[in-house]
């Protein structure tokens, strides 16, 4: 039977227009409000994780100076910092925050396909955060097993939070998976089924491609986390032995036998590795759009970029055991996983070349979002190259569990996505608020963050080569680590404290600009993609006024020869751009004409 697409029956989209303050800002079904709720919670919990990392640094840099932190709370900080940053901050902010805000706007849709489910998603996410943070207030505190939660260590009495803390952590993760699934189904269905007229998949901005692919990865990877959480909860609460082998604890055998700790590692990393790309792919997409817009040039190799995103997404499911080279698995597996891991470098390097080639001979406008985007290229190349070291089994074995690994993953999936997030927050702030941020403050924020990043993580590579093990509360005196390593640790700590404090600039900037920023107008960057062409800024509920937009071109028509302005919005028809003879060809349009 003939089926009429719902996107055409515009009136069929049920818009629940809010009637009160509560339905507008709390139980809102508007994707833009939900995005801000997601982003707000994610950033708030991210600040908690940042403070935890600073506590750890203070202990490492100046041991026996502060009473704030003891060995137990150090491990708890390591664990909570890692888990919060990866899952509750980055994943939630990039997919729940940016995904929610940008997908419907970039697809020319009025909202997500199921706004009610979307609203449930953010509040279930809030519940998972509450459960997670509540573990700080139970007896024994949060779990200190490391963010990978490897059994049997998680359940043993020597591990802080082995009773209530770990149970709350697993519970919170399970609830998070439910929240993510409700949101993720919405994002994928919206991209596939609710695009406006003329908007083909190959006309989508790379932001949408990145978030879309990452969400698909999430929908396939989070089940493994859910299952491992359920199985470990059974082990902890029911006394089953899925992951628990026979263990003798302080002379007494525990009531477990025959379980497989390796099984947990496989399940965890089957989630954990795609998780890296769940964070990275949206960042790739966002940074592509920021770079292209501010370089006033189309993104180089758009089709290659799309296929690279898809290839990375596919490959990310067959590399997970490169996190397990030292786990005792069969060396042939190591061979296989090293090969697939190194193959991932191909599409990833392709993306890096394309970003650089996008900048090449571009009409670059060095404003704050562009600073962060270019900074990302540096940190990402840096972190990516150390990934090639660690992907090889023979090099990984001595470097495993040293500060080299810490430096690697913080460069590649900590700092890099965070720089993109700042680029994107500054870039889209005018659309969200209708006002410009303070440029000088933003640039100061960039320079401190960017240089501070190198001050923190470059020395960590060196510490790793020295063999300084990670996750240690204090080194004590060892033969193989020179005493000067402690000086490096102190320097790293000072840099970390400065960078941590500099983030206040960001918050001051945002809150100051919300009231006092210059009015930005609808399209301050002269961006061609659809979200900047809304009739209202910030967009109203329903986004597009009476009629949905029609798209005639891809989102990267910058500096088109013969066009009147240096960008052509996606919703301008082919014949409508002014003819070449009507305008003078101005090579030096350094100032945004739409900024007025």
């Amino acid at each position: 039977m003939a089926y009429v697409p719902l996107a055409d029956q515009d009136s069929e989209m049920e818009m629940h227009h809010p009637h009160s303050w509560v339905t507008k800002y709390v139980w809102s079904q508007d994707h833009k409000v939900i995005a801000i709720q997601y982003g707000g919670i994610a950033i708030a919990v991210g600040v908690v994780a940042l403070v935890l990392s600073l506590l750890m640094r203070m202990q490492l840099g100046f041991p026996e100076t502060f009473d704030l932190i003891d060995p137990s709370s150090y491990y708890q900080s390591v664990t909570m910092h890692g888990m919060i940053m990866v899952v509750y901050m980055l994943t939630a902010l990039l997919l729940g925050g940016f995904g929610n805000y940008l997908i419907p706007l970039m697809c020319g849709a009025r909202d997500m396909v199921f706004p009610f489910l979307n609203m449930l998603s953010v509040w279930v996410y809030a519940l998972s955060v509450i459960i997670l943070l509540s573990s700080f207030f139970v007896g024994g505190g949060p779990t200190g097993a490391g963010w990978t939660l490897y059994p049997p260590q998680t359940a043993l009495a020597g591990t802080p939070g082995h009773d209530a803390g770990i149970v709350l952590m697993l519970l919170s993760l399970a609830v998070f998976v439910v929240a993510f699934t409700m949101g993720g189904l919405n994002y994928v269905t919206t991209v596939l089924q609710y695009r406006c007229r003329g908007l083909t998949m190959m006309r989508l901005p790379l932001t949408v491609w990145g978030i879309f692919t990452a969400t698909v990865l999430g929908l396939f990877a989070f089940p493994a986390l859910l299952v491992s959480a359920i199985m470990m909860l059974f082990d902890l609460l029911l006394g089953t032995s899925f992951f628990m082998p026979a263990v003798i604890e302080s002379g007494t055998p525990l009531d477990h036998n025959g379980g497989s700790p390796i099984l947990f590692q496989h399940l965890f990393w089957f989630f954990g590795h795609p998780e890296v790309y769940i964070v990275a792919l949206p960042a790739f997409g966002l940074v592509s759009d920021v770079l292209s817009t501010h370089a006033r040039k189309n993104i180089f190799g758009y089709r290659m970029m799309v296929w690279a995103i898809i290839a990375i997404g596919g490959l990310s499911f067959v590399v997970w055991a490169h996190h397990m080279y030292v786990s005792g698995m069969h060396p042939y597996f190591g061979f296989f996983f090293a090969t697939t891991t190194l193959i991932i470098a191909v599409p990833t390097a392709l993306k890096v070349y394309n970003w650089v080639l996008t900048l090449w001979e571009g009409n670059i406008r060095l404003n704050a979002p562009m600073y962060f985007a270019i900074g990302f290229i540096f940190t990402f190349i840096h972190g990516g190259l150390t990934g090639l070291f660690l992907g090889n089994v023979v090099i990984d074995l001595p470097l495993s569990d040293t500060y080299f690994v810490v430096a690697h993953f913080h460069m590649v999936m900590g700092v890099s996505p965070v720089l993109v997030i700042f680029a994107a927050l500054y870039h889209w702030f005018p659309k969200v608020s209708g006002r410009m941020f303070h440029e000088g403050m933003a640039k100061a924020h960039f320079w401190i963050t960017f240089l501070g990043t190198y001050a923190i993580y470059l020395p960590m590579h060196y510490l790793g080569f020295l063999g300084v093990p990670r996750r240690y509360y204090a080194m004590g005196s060892t033969d193989f680590i020179p005493e000067s390593a402690q000086d490096l640790n102190a320097a790293i700590t000072i840099a970390a404290l400065v960078v941590g404090a500099a983030q206040i600039l960001f918050f001051v900037n945002i809150f100051w600009s919300l009231r006092n920023g210059k009015k930005s107008g609808p399209n301050p960057w002269g961006s061609a993609s659809l979200e900047w062409q809304t009739p209202d800024t910030p967009p109203k509920h329903g986004n597009w006024g009476d009629e949905l937009p029609t798209v005639y071109r891809w989102p990267y028509d910058y500096s088109v020869p013969g066009a009147k302005e240096d960008f052509i919005p996606q919703n301008v028809p082919d014949g409508d751009e002014p003819a070449a003879d009507e305008q003078h060809f101005d090579l030096d349009h350094g100032v945004s004409k739409a900024g007025a």
């Binding site: 009429v4 596939l192 406006c196 299952v227 029911l238 032995s241 379980g259």
Partner: protein, 221 residues
């Protein structure tokens, strides 16, 4: 409405994905259900892979399922007889569900309702038999999640976890089917169309399919 929006039932995959507006000629709810089911497949795959792994890793012998899951009706015990009946009922319910979808598209509300109700009844009886199976194992045989008298303790752990998780899916499906069935009866979908019956059907067939894999891997292997 533009011409491009008219659906092309015979269009190719490439044409569909190159089109504007939508990649599949299906309603939003159906697309979302498909994506959800693929995601759910990963959950059950992880469960079954985990089960196979612990079955290999455990140090004690794995109990003989054919003896544990045997029932005797007066004479000799018949291996797996209850599971066979449960499997038969669940597959039958897929048949009644397919008929309900068919009558839904014909807009025959009465028959749609009754076939959906029958499907839900089959599902409920499946859950009922599962309750019987569980209570027999727990009360008579002494099988617990943390141990059992027959061998590897993981046998009970896996059994309760996987059949429990599947049973939750069936229970949710019964509630879902009944909700939709009563809405069908009231004429709630006269305007919106009856795709919802097919969407519910997709879920139900998926739950049945998963059972086939559980049956094969857990009870037969």
């Amino acid at each position: 409405m533009s011409d491009a929006a008219i659906s092309e039932p015979n269009s190719t995959l490439v044409e569909d994905w190159s089109a504007d507006k939508q990649a599949y000629h299906v309603p939003w709810g159906k697309a979302m259900m498909w994506i959800f089911l693929v995601s759910d497949t990963f959950i059950f795959t992880s469960f079954l892979t985990g089960y196979l792994h612990v079955r290999l890793s455990t140090t004690e012998p794995w109990p003989l399922q054919s003896e544990i899951f045997a029932l005797s009706f007066g004479g000799d015990p018949i291996p797996l007889i209850l599971i066979a009946i449960m499997t038969f009922i669940l597959i039958t319910s897929s048949g009644t569900m397919a008929l309900a979808v068919n009558f839904g598209y014909r807009r025959d509300k009465q028959k749609t309702f009754w076939f959906m109700a029958a499907t839900a009844a089959f599902g409920a009886s499946f859950v009922g038999m599962q309750v019987f199976e569980w209570s027999k194992l727990i009360l008579e045989e002494g099988v617990r999640p943390w141990g059992n008298p027959f061998g590897a303790s993981q046998f009970g752990s896996v059994f309760f976890m996987i059949t429990g998780f599947h049973g939750l899916h069936v229970t949710a499906g019964v509630i879902y089917l009944l909700t939709v069935a009563f809405k069908v009866k009231k004429g709630h979908y006269d305007k919106k169309g009856y795709e919802i019956v097919e969407i519910a059907g997709l879920y139900w067939h998926f739950v049945d399919l998963v059972w086939v894999f559980i049956f094969a891997f857990f009870y037969l292997l």
